[in-house]
Each structure stands twice: as C-alpha cells, then as structure tokens.
C-alpha cells in the first residue's frame, strides 16, 4: 500500500516534491516539542492548492492519516508526524499573493512567515497585528491552526480577530471558502471553528488577513517592583484606570537574573518583578495614557521606571523580553514551557502555588508572561541526562495547568493542545463536551485521518487517566463556574 501511495504522489501534476528516504525525513521528525519524535511514511511539499487536493484524495482513498506542518515552531507537538502517516509540509506555499492598502487586507499562502506579512505591508504604513514570539519563522497557516496570540493581543486581538477568509481543503478533496472579504458571511461561523482546530478539520491553503494602520506614536516603559504582588497590582491598576496597553509583560526574579547574566540588561538586581509596558496611538492620546500609567506605577511601590527615549532604547527593552527564553537556557540546558491562562486577579495566588509546587518537586520554575491578558508561561527546568527528570517535568507542568483550571482558567492560552496537553483536556472538559468535539471532527473528517489523536483526547484515554483526575463534573473548587 505504501508503494501505491508513493506512486500516486509521483503521478501528481505539476510534479510534487516528495521525501521518502530516512535521512532527509529526519529534520521533520518533530516540531518544537522536541521531546517526542516520529518518522512519517513520507513527506510531501506541495507548491499549489491543486497538489494539496491530490495529496488529500490519495490519502483518503487509501485510509492513510495525514499531519500538516508549517514551519514546525509549535510547542505542543501538534505537527509531529505519525509513523503510519504522511506529513504534508506547506512551507513551499510561501507567496504573498496580494497586499491591498485600500481595503487594509493581505492575501497570503499558508507557508508565509508571520513577520513577512508585516514587512510586505510596511510601505503602506500597515501591519499584521498578531505577533507570536516566533514570528520571524512561524507560518500564517500554523497561526490559524493554533489561533496564535503574541505580546500585543490585549489590544489587537488573536489570530481569529485578524483573519477574514480562508481557503481550506477538506478531506474529500473539496475546497471550502470560509469567511468573506465583507465584514460577515452567511451561515455558521466556520471561520471561528477553523481557528485553533490544530489541523484536525482541513488543510489551509490560503489566508486573507486584516491589516492594521501603524500607530502614530509608541511609548515603552520598564518598571521594577519589590514583589510579584506589587507588579500584579500595577497590571490590574493600569487596566482599571481605563488604559488598554498594546503590551503588558511580566518577568519574575529568576528571569531578571538570567537576563542580567546573559546580556547585562542593566536591570535593578533587587527587583522581584519587572513589567514591560507599551502604549500606542495618537501622540496626544499616548501622552495622556503615559501620565495615567506612571501614576498607577508609583502607587504600586515601583522601585524604578525606565522610559525608552527612542527606537533603539525600545529595541533594547524588548530584547530583554524576547531574549528571555534564550537567557533561561543559561540556568539549565533543558526546560519546558507551559501555557496556562487565568483570570488576571488570580496572578499572585497562582504564582505562589507555582512556587510551592516547585519546592515539592525540587525543580526550578521561572515566569515570563503576557500579564495583561492573564496568559502564563511558566518555565520548568530539568536535566534530560538524569533518568526520569523529563517525565517529572512533564508531570509538574501538568500540575501547573491544573492550577489554572482550578482558578477558572484554561490549560492553553495560545500554544494549543497538540499531544502535550491531552491529559489536561480531560481535566478541563467533561465527557459530553469531549464527545461534542469528536462529533464536530466527524462532520469534517468522518474517517478520522486528519491529525488523528491530537488536540482532543479519546474518551477511553481520559477514563484510563481517570485515576488522577476528577470525573463527571466533580471539579475542584466547584464554586467557580467553569465555562
């Protein structure tokens, strides 16, 4: 059967780039969830939508599962190949088809890098707002599949808020046109359903994104605090004062120290927490907001406020945030980044719980995250050379996510479930809700060939894991509504 499938692929016209030998398949054996890997039957790299249609039809006829991959930057393992399946790599479909300044939209192929859309729009003073930290590499198709966020989503929204239209190849080879160049489309909101569907419902072959006018003026501030609670209070205070910053990021002491050691960022070393705040808009409006923010920061025991005087200084401040993960590697070579999301008011409580768990497991945890929208990225350090440490780090990571669910939050804010958080899906959702997810998948993919086993756990697996989890709606702290 394998040979027949390869023969099908070889008949595709125009000729399809096909990878079958183990050595050349190696680079594709994992995405950025590098602790797990598998070699696919083969990888195909289409250049056109019609090739994607042929690939899907060939797999569908022969009942062979497919996994779609863009740039492979996902960190929940959703694009790791299946040993019995085909890997469809969309990175060659990387053309920007159109930038239309009149309608503030761009039409792009799925393999286009996120940052390339902004680069192509810059001459019209427009930009593509969602900016995941991997934006130089990560692809738009992957951004849609994961509903990617970034540091500017509190103000500018997630991918789902910035995409107008998709072309999607369904499992039967038909091309679905979802969304519209108008502000709405008839029927159910399938556009929302496709966002964050992690490659389980179809293969995205074209994306029309909304572009945003560049703000006239930007102010970037760094504020240091003697405690995490003070910093968290400042975050809530800024928003309570009616200011929606373009970005509002927090770093804890471990991250501050790592940045200091790694790139001499010049941070106050006695600070327990730092906030990076960006304001944008009309010059006069930003000036007004700046005053408000500085007043809030002073009321929250700030130790120091630094304001970027120009673009170079702004770059420098952002470098410390964006380089934080690289800096953390100087603490320990192996670490594991989580992605829970919580109501913002629970920040101090949740961070304290993390420290308790850190002590319990004897593993360090650092925090650098999107404070403005309550999206946490705790980093768990482990040593892969010690037997069992990876497994323990994953167990601890799972506990950290369960704390998020307990306070009314969610197990993933922007990284997706993939293969990484299947167990925690059993904590967040009950059997009937999971069954509904499976029913929706069956509408698009009755044979279950698109990225099977990812994103939504089977009910059987949840019940096998049931010993350590709460079942039948008996969730911890049942007083907190869960939806």
């Amino acid at each position: 059967m394998h040979a027949e499938l390869i023969a099908d692929f070889q008949r595709v016209s125009p000729p399809l780039k096909l990878i079958v030998d183990t050595e050349r398949l190696k680079p594709f054996e994992t995405d950025a969830y590098i602790s797990h890997r598998a070699l696919p039957l083969c990888a195909v790299m289409p250049d056109t939508e019609s090739q994607v249609v042929d690939i899907v039809k060939a797999c569908s006829v022969r009942d062979v599962p497919l996994v779609t991959r863009g740039a492979g930057t996902g960190i929940s393992g959703g694009a790791i190949p299946l040993a019995n399946g085909v890997l469809v790599v969309l990175s060659r479909m990387n053309k920007i088809l159109e930038v239309d300044p009149a309608s503030c939209t761009a039409r792009v192929q799925p393999g286009v890098a996120n940052a390339a859309v902004t680069s192509a729009s810059a001459r019209y003073k427009l930009f593509y707002a969602p900016d995941p930290s991997s934006q130089i590499v990560c692809s738009i198709g992957g951004n849609v599949a994961e509903n990617a966020g970034g540091v500017h989503c509190l103000k500018y929204g997630l991918t789902v808020h910035n995409v107008m239209r998709l072309r999607v190849v369904a499992l039967n080879g038909e091309v679905l046109e979802i969304g519209s160049a108008a502000l709405d489309a008839p029927g159910y909101d399938l556009l929302a359903l496709m966002h964050g569907s992690e490659g389980l419902l179809g293969l995205i072959t074209e994306v029309t994104v909304k572009l945003t006018p560049e703000p006239q003026h930007i102010e970037t501030l760094l504020a240091a605090f003697p405690s995490v609670t003070d910093a968290a209070n400042a975050v809530n205070g800024i928003i309570a004062a009616g200011v929606i910053p373009a970005a509002l990021e927090m770093m804890d002491k471990m991250v501050i120290n790592a940045c200091e050691k790694f790139m001499s960022a010049g941070f106050p070393i006695d600070a327990e927490a730092l906030l990076l705040i960006e304001l944008d808009g009309a010059r006069e409006e930003v000036a007004e907001q700046l005053e408000t923010v500085e007043r809030v920061l002073r009321a929250c025991n700030q130790q120091e406020i630094r304001r970027a005087g120009d673009d170079a200084e702004r770059e420098k401040l952002w470098k410390s945030r964006k380089g934080a993960f690289a800096a953390l590697a100087s603490i320990s070579p192996d670490y594991y980044t989580m992605d829970g999301s919580i109501p913002r008011r629970c920040l101090p409580e949740v961070l304290a719980r993390y420290q308790q768990l850190s002590a319990e497991y004897g593993m360090l945890i650092a925090n650098v995250f999107h404070a403005g929208d309550g999206n946490l990225h705790p980093v768990v350090f482990y040593d892969a050379t010690k037997p069992g440490e990876l497994e323990r780090s994953e167990e601890l990571g799972g506990k950290l996510l369960e704390v998020c669910v307990e306070v009314g939050g969610t197990i993933t804010g922007e990284h997706g479930v993939g293969i990484e958080k299947l167990k925690q899906m059993c904590v967040q959702f009950r059997d009937k809700e999971l069954a509904m997810f499976h029913a929706i998948k069956a509408v698009f993919d009755p044979a279950g060939l698109l990225n099977p086993g990812r994103a939504v756990p089977s009910l059987k697996r949840c019940s096998e894991w049931g010993g350590m989890h709460v079942r039948a709606g008996e969730i911890p702290r049942a007083d907190i509504p869960r939806f």
Partner: protein, 353 residues
Amino acid sequence: MDTIIAATSARIRDAREAKTPLAIHGGKSKSFYGGAIIGESLDLRPYSGIIEYEPKELVLTVRAGTTLVEIERVMDAASQTLPFEPPHYAEGSTIGGTVASGLSGPRRPYTGAVRDFVLGARILDGKGDDLRFGGRVIKNVAGYDISRLMTGAMGTLGVLLDLSFKVLPKPVEELTLRYDFDEAMAIRQFNEWAGKPLPISATSWHDGVAMLRLSGAVAGVKAARLKLGGELVAHDVAKLFWHSLRDQRDAFFQTVEPLWRVSVPPTTAPLGLQMPQWIEWGGGLRWHRGVADVAALRAKIAQAGGHVTLFRYGDKAAGVFNPLQPVLTKIHRDLKAAFDPENILNRGRMDNF
C-alpha cells in the same frame, strides 16, 4: 437558577422524544429576523442576571435572559461597554438574542463584532445536555471554538445559558462630524480614513450626508478632529442619531417594503441598485429598501464578493439568508445534526441549508 436549567433540559428531552420544535426567545425584539418561527415558545427571560463582573478583569459573565438595558446600566457605572454596540431594536432585548442573531451595531468595523468578544458559552444542546465551552479568560485555545460558533447561529445549535464576554473601557470622549458627500465620495473617504490610525468608531451615509463618529481619549479625539474637517454635530443630536441608526428607528427603516441587508467588501464601488440606500460600516453594510428580484440581486452582490439577507419585511419564501456554497451546505446540516439530532431547536430560523 439551577431549577430553570433542569426544567429547560427536561423540556428539550421531552420535545426531542415527541419531535416537536421549540422556538427559543428572549424579548422578541428580533423575531422579525431569520426564517419563520415554528414551535412552542421557550422563554429564556426568567434565566437572567449578571453572574460575574469584575471591571478590572475586562470580563463579564451573564445569563442569556438578561436584558441589554440591565447590562448597560451596570457597565455604565464602571465606565465600561460592550464594544460591539449591540442593537436593541425594541425594549427588552436580551444578551442571548444578541449572541444568537450575531448582530452588531455601528462600532463593528472599528472595534469588532459580537463574535470577536464572546469568550465562553454554557449551552443546552438538542439532547438537553448541559455543555460548557470556552471560558472566562481572554486567551483560550483548548478545544474547538464552540462559543464563537454559537454566535449568529440563530439558536439552532443550542439554548444559550451563560455567556462570557471581553469588555472594554468606555471611550471618555466622543464627537461626530458631518459632511456633504455623494455616495462614491463617502465610500472612498471612509476607506481612506480606515487605513489611517484615527479613532473612528462609526460611519454613516444617507441621502448626500456622511457622518463620522470619533471615540477615545480626549487628546486623541481632539487631535483627529483637527485633521478631519467637517462640521461638528451637537452632542445630543449626535447621540440620538447613532442610537437611532443602531436600532433602525429612522423612517428609512420603518416601512413595509422589504429591507435588504447587503454586506459587501467595504471598498466596493456604488452598487447602482435602483432602491433607496443607507450605508454603514465604512461602506461594508449597505441597507436597501424596496421590492427586488432576489435571485438577480444575490447574483449581482455575489459578483462583488458579498451576500444579501432579507432583513425585515417582504416575502421570506425566497430565502432570508444567502444560499451557501454546496459543499458548505452539507457541513451546516451535519453540524446541526451533531448539536440537535431531531432538529427541534429554532427549526428553520436559519433557512439556507
């Protein structure tokens, strides 16, 4: 409230058994909209009240039967607002109906639609099962986005119970400018402005008059006003104008002639339909009033990349909503069956699949 949920769930199970359709409603302010109403009344108004609202979180959780008036009163006290400026149309309209209809007001192109602000939904599906999707946090990608799928589904996929929204601070300053523009000029100017970093929050054109609303911080609105010319409209007059447009109280909308909701890419040139017209949403929404050949109208608008809804009045027999691409029709039917196997929830309210 638990007894209401239990009773509603039991009613759905009975209806499913008996295969009798249920017509879900709140204040009936939008009963004119969508396919004909069939079945026994399922009144969600008793299921009302704000469940959680902490302004600092920018998140509101509310029961579906709560009126927009009540929500706006509470949010007003905290200087916050539902950013999609939901139309009321009549007294007593509820948040459940707002989400089910998926209709947004004048602010939509500049701040987002109702679907953009929905964070979570608790629903009863067509089997009476109590399901919770999404959450009360701003970022959440666990599971398919079923709460957004409920938006605009006309109650055909589930009875909405609890709904969570992202909310925003109310703009401190607001002012409206008036221009004498012809249609082409208005469309061109609206789109040109939309490509610039201006605090625009609404646009309207009708009968040679364009209106532009600016909202935001005092300084930002003042600065923009200087760049934009136009004639300043008195605050009270402007407020009344936008409320009236949001709720379609102007005589243009209050007629017995069919009212067509024509949704097109905002840059679309004047359509040249021989019917009176009102333009909103920066050119993206073009209301037309009059008798028309539906098929021909839909074909013409499809050419422009848009779609046509028979919004109000007129003969619904030719279809209220624009027909779907055939492959999408099957997906719609199958989704409906997944949520509501016996087709008892708001049967036929979405009439295009």
